[in-house]
Symmetry: C2
């Protein structure tokens, strides 16, 4: 199941299911969801918080952000010093205790900038 983690993009549970189904024909969708949750709670993968209705997962654990493209709705990586950014949020003076800051981006991905008209919307 760790093989799922090594998938390239930012797949949803359904995408992972569709990807693995041909390899393991009797794979169940429930199994995919369950194992993704286990991996995510173990910290082996990340569950991404985006605007898209279905949850996306990411095997990359190093510093980077995610941007959802307005055009193609894909999730792309944005390389940056996340710790530096989130540190500023954690230091906001407030009576509450801030433990984590999550930053998500929205915009237009490199691909859709180059090919402007195509509203692939898949």
């Amino acid at each position: 199941m760790q093989t799922v983690k090594n998938s390239k993009e930012h797949p949803t549970a359904e995408v992972i299911y569709a990807t693995l189904k041909p390899l393991y024909p009797e794979l169940s969708l429930g199994t995919v969801y369950r194992n993704l949750n286990v991996l995510a709670s173990n910290g082996d993968i990340l569950r991404l918080q985006t605007d898209v209705p279905s949850a996306c997962f990411d095997g990359r654990l190093d510093d980077h952000l995610h941007m959802v493209c307005d055009i193609c709705n894909k999730v792309v990586d944005v390389e940056c010093d996340v710790k530096n950014l989130t540190a500023k949020c954690l230091n906001i003076p407030t009576p509450h205790k801030i433990l984590e800051a999550k930053i998500s981006l929205r915009g237009i991905c490199e691909n859709c900038i180059k090919t402007p008209q195509q509203t692939t919307m898949n």
Copy 2:
């Protein structure tokens, strides 16, 4: 319907429905959702992106962030200079075009810090 906006907290659609139902007994849940969407797309209210499964709304349009409490799961306001923080994100060098940065916080709210044991979890 604008009266909904003036509600204090960060209500979900269901909460708004439950709040208004006694006042307008023949109110339908579909109406609440539809009007919240209209208000949100008009920019009159904000739709919050949090970890909690149901969408929360906020009538405050001025600069502030939101933090979800690990203990009580409530959404609380965090006062800060949002524009300053997001500006840093928008300036990240990347081949993509970043249009918006959304920051959400997680932590422990003032209330739960003061009364540590109660895992109200409502």
